[in-house]
Amino acid sequence: MVQLIARVWEVLTRRIDSMLFAAALAIVGVGLVTLFSAADQSMARETSQAMSLAFAIVLMWMFANIAPQTLARAAVPLYVVAVAMLIGVAMFGVVVNGSRRWLNLGVARFQPSELMKVALPLMLAWYFQKFEGRIGWRDFAFAAVLIVVPVYLIKRQPDLGTALLIGASGFYVLFLAGLSWKVIVGLFALGAAVGPMVWTHLHDYQRERVLTFLDPSRDPLGAGYHSTQASIALGSGGIVGKGWLNGTQTHLDFLPERHTDFIFAVFGEEFGLIGNALLLILYLLLIGRAMMITAHASTLFARLLSGTITLMFFTYAFVNMAMVSGILPVVGVPLPLVSYGGTALISLFIGLGILMSVQAHRKLVTS
């Protein structure tokens, strides 16, 4: 009997990286505590988030038990399906709030750009692994096409924020695969030159967001409202914060989107600079551990995949906190593991599962 329990425990835990898992759970804990306050102490969202968490952990365990090489086999079909769905969205997608982002699958609506977030890094990592050792500029050029197609399709939905994030994940793979510095510098130079041209192609609301970011007082009731109120929330929190459940900005309804994209403002108001520092440390622990796993990964595919997952974690966390604290314009990016929302939580834990799989399978190949 004891042996059976020990065996079950062994099966459940052998692929689980305890440090990664602990850091993630600590951040989720911060999220749940903050959510309780943001949701006006209603248990409804809390329960819903906890149920998503349970589901996400099960998926994490499953992915931790899938060898990276198995994932590699899924890369091409997944990418092809995701691109096909994006084209499907462009042709007969459902329009919500003026954007055509959703595909109606009969039972549920599905946002193919979510799938692409996973499919693109997988595809690129698979491609570079296939040609490992003889990767030339032609390969990078082909990889660039693989990136540009979905990014363009998502950008014209229009969903600039997601397009940029997916573009970034593709860039991370190229960078880690050894893209020449000359090209990187060239790209940035080109970006700076093309920037003014892009401006004329932006949608009104996108331009408005950038202008408002530069001067939040431009439109105190409209687009600048989020930014201004979030800054007030953080700033008035001070060093030690106003205390849990006592954020006035939060509870007097000044903070918009306070369960989701702006939950960090709730946290910062109630727990202050000390709380913020603690959260930054937790993210650093998580990202640091993920980087160590990446550094010791056994194959190029595993390295590129885990490296990109790690960097996307960082990107989401950074962009969200920078947005809430007014360093970046308002873009719809949730704070990973903290913001309310089942889909994001599940994707993130799948990412963690892949990292754990990379860690667990490193010796099997090298030895």
Partner: protein, 653 residues
């Protein structure tokens, strides 16, 4: 940029050449880039920390002031709840605006002290304090809660002068719900109450959370509940500048609310008053339906309660009294009281027998005063000692002869009976437009099998016996129907077999556009019987009121009516003779009466139940008479027309 950082295939051997792969070197370069990334991540996080430090330490005082002072608050404006009127436009529920004195607990340091100080300026009763405590427990700290409602103008003025002394206390105008008729029709109109967690789930399921921002009340019972979404309206928004005390300084922008829709009930409140008065102190239920449309004209559940008690949050003493009373005033008897139908079921069984061919109208039986299942000793007694003698179908209904129906039940399969009664709506919800309706019990073999399923019962408990059929044959036994179901069934007979889904709301009026939406009254069921059979039953029902069990109650009526009495046993006497005086009041039989009028062209059908009223003819039938007189002649008392010739106009109550 240093040469060392340049890493391309060209540097490490050039593309297209067949130089040996160098995994060690690849890994080295990969880790170098990873280290660079790690450094960037760290720098980026330091940047964030610096920004937080700037906001939360350097600029803290500035933002603290901003948070404390001049801010823009988005204030919801609660829409006016729709008015509920009866079919003639008499108001049954309305909203009015009144001043309340409210405290935001999070802004007040010492609640008790503040309330004590407030009590020196305005009246604060112990009752108000108790209610405030209760609200405080149920609500969140940031909500503003009323300590006093319905302030007089003088109290408002007195507080306004002293306002500066009370941060966190303010006067607000809130909408209150008022039910002018109090107990009358309370089970129809229902009441509203403060929104609780369960209500919030309901609101979330409607996807209306934003629309209920600022709303404190929601329909809890009756039409207020079932038509909540019509009545509520659309919440408006006001952007106001607020000062440090959270008080509005000026309005910047305003989107006005849209008032909820008004409801016109099919109920006639004057008729309802007559019906409720006719019950006196007795407990019971009455449903009156217009058989040609399904309009519910009166809907009585006695005793009722005063819905006004619930509006501000009922105080514990009143609640306990209502909830613990053995008279169960909160029970909606027409929908949630299931009673054995007694003899009121006989006309339907007779119609079933005619339709199936088990009996013809002329066929007679001999009633010696009891019935025995062949080969068994048990005697099923008839009400009349010595029996009714020779009885045909007409006489069996007019005199309510039990033996006739014992014999009929003996000849009929219970499942066939259940199928026929099901078509009249028995054993199923009538579909009336308020919540909580019971299905009652329409017994059949299948029903008994399921009712006594499980380990606690043995197989013989589940089996259907002939004795079960015999009891059910006179409306006793397992049968249990709601007064609503009986009213629906008799209305179907009155309307020659065509049934309408009963409804309490006749039309919905959009206040803004003036558009009136009539709740459709389409026939919802049709009884497939021969017209001659239906005519036979209707002739017998007329006979009941003319020369039968309820003839006394309808003596000298100016119209021809049809009806059937019934008496439902509450307590089984096991063969002893029933005597009203010897039985405890609560164990006395329930009195039933079903009727419609005028007989040739019915415009009203009723079911009356008087709990523990004894014999149906003497307790329940006179109530139906009063309702008919009022509805058909405009009289509130039978016989009043003799004194006032040509009466028929409204005489006031």
């Amino acid at each position: 940029m240093t040469r060392r950082l340049l890493f391309t295939r060209r540097d490490s051997g050039g593309f297209g050449t067949s130089e040996l792969r160098n995994p060690e070197r690849d890994l080295y370069h990969f880790r170098r880039r990873l280290s660079l990334v790690a450094a960037l991540v760290f720098i980026a996080f330091c940047g964030l920390f610096a920004r937080f430090f700037y906001l939360q330490v350097v600029q803290h005082a500035h933002f603290e002031t901003l948070a404390e002072t001049n801010r823009i608050a988005i204030v919801p404006i609660v829409p006016n709840r729709g008015v509920i009127t009866d079919r003639n436009g008499i108001v049954l529920a309305q909203s009015y605006s009144a001043y309340t004195l409210e405290i935001t607990p999070s802004r007040v340091a010492n609640l008790d002290e503040t309330i004590d100080k407030l009590a020196q300026i305005v009246d604060v009763e112990p009752r108000d304090r108790k209610r405030f405590r209760k609200l405080l427990e149920e609500s969140r700290n940031f909500e503003s809660l009323p300590i006093r409602t319905k302030l007089t103008d003088e109290e408002v003025a007195r507080f306004a002068v002293n306002r500066y002394r009370f941060p966190g206390v303010d006067i607000k105008a809130r909408l209150f719900r008022q039910y002018p008729f109090g107990e009358i029709a309370s089970h129809v109109v229902g009441y509203i109450g403060r929104i609780n967690d369960k209500d919030n789930e309901r609101i979330a399921a409607w996807d209306e959370t934003a629309n209920y921002k600022g709303s404190d009340y929601i329909g809890k019972v009756g039409v207020e509940l079932s038509y909540e979404r019509e009545l509520h309206g659309t919440t408006g928004v006001e952007d106001v500048e607020v000062d440090a005390g959270g008080r509005a300084v000026r309005t910047l922008r305003r989107t006005p609310p849209t008032a909820g829709n008004n409801l016109t009930l099919s109920l006639d409140i004057r008729l309802q008053q007559v019906a409720e008065a006719a019950f006196g102190d007795r407990r019971g239920a009455l449903v009156a339906i217009d058989p040609t449309s399904g309009d519910v004209l009166a809907f009585v559940s006695k005793p009722g309660y005063d819905p006004n008690l619930f509006v501000d949050g009922i105080d514990p003493a009143n609640w306990q009294e209502l909830n613990d009373s053995p008279d169960k005033p909160l029970l909606n008897r027409p929908l949630r009281g299931a009673y054995p139908p007694g003899s009121t079921i006989k006309p339907y069984l007779a119609l079933a027998a005619l339709t199936s061919g088990k009996r013809t109208a002329a066929q007679t039986i001999y009633d010696p005063g009891f019935f025995q299942i062949p080969g068994q000793a048990h005697r099923f007694r008839d009400d009349k000692p010595g029996g009714h003698g020779t009885v045909d179908m007409y006489k069996s209904i007019v005199q309510s002869c039990d033996t006739y129906y014992y014999m009929l039940a003996n000849d009929t399969d219970i499942d066939d009976t259940a199928r026929f009664l099901g078509k009249l709506g028995f054993g199923q919800k009538t579909g009336i437009d308020v919540e909580g309706e019971l299905t009652g019990v329409l017994p059949s073999r299948e029903w008994k099998r399921q009712r006594f399923a499980g380990k606690n019962y043995r197989e013989e408990n589940r089996k259907w016996y002939l004795g079960d059929s015999i009891s059910a044959g006179i409306g006793q036994g397992y049968n249990a129907f709601t007064p609503m179901q009986l009213a629906h069934a008799i209305a179907m007979i009155a309307n020659d077999g065509v049934g309408y889904t009963p409804h309490l709301v006749k039309s919905v009026t959009n206040v803004k556009t003036g558009e009136v939406r009539v709740i459709a009254s389409q026939p919802s069921s049709r009884l497939d019987v021969r017209p001659a059979d239906m005519a036979m039953i209707k002739r017998a029902l007329v006979g009941v009121n003319k020369e039968g069990t309820s003839a006394a109650a309808f003596k000298d009526a100016k119209y021809v009516s049809a009806g059937k009495t019934g008496t439902a046993q509450v307590y089984s006497l096991k063969g002893e003779k029933y005597s009203e005086h010897r039985v405890d009041e609560r164990l006395r039989d329930h009195a039933w009466f079903e009727a419609y009028a005028p007989a040739d062209h019915p415009t009203i059908a009723v079911a009356v139940l008087v709990e523990n009223g004894g014999f149906g003819a003497s307790a329940a039938a006179p109530i139906a008479r009063k309702v008919f007189d009022r509805y058909l002649l405009g009289e509130s008392e039978p016989g009043a027309a003799k004194d006032v010739p040509g009466a028929g106009d409204d005489e006031g109550d």
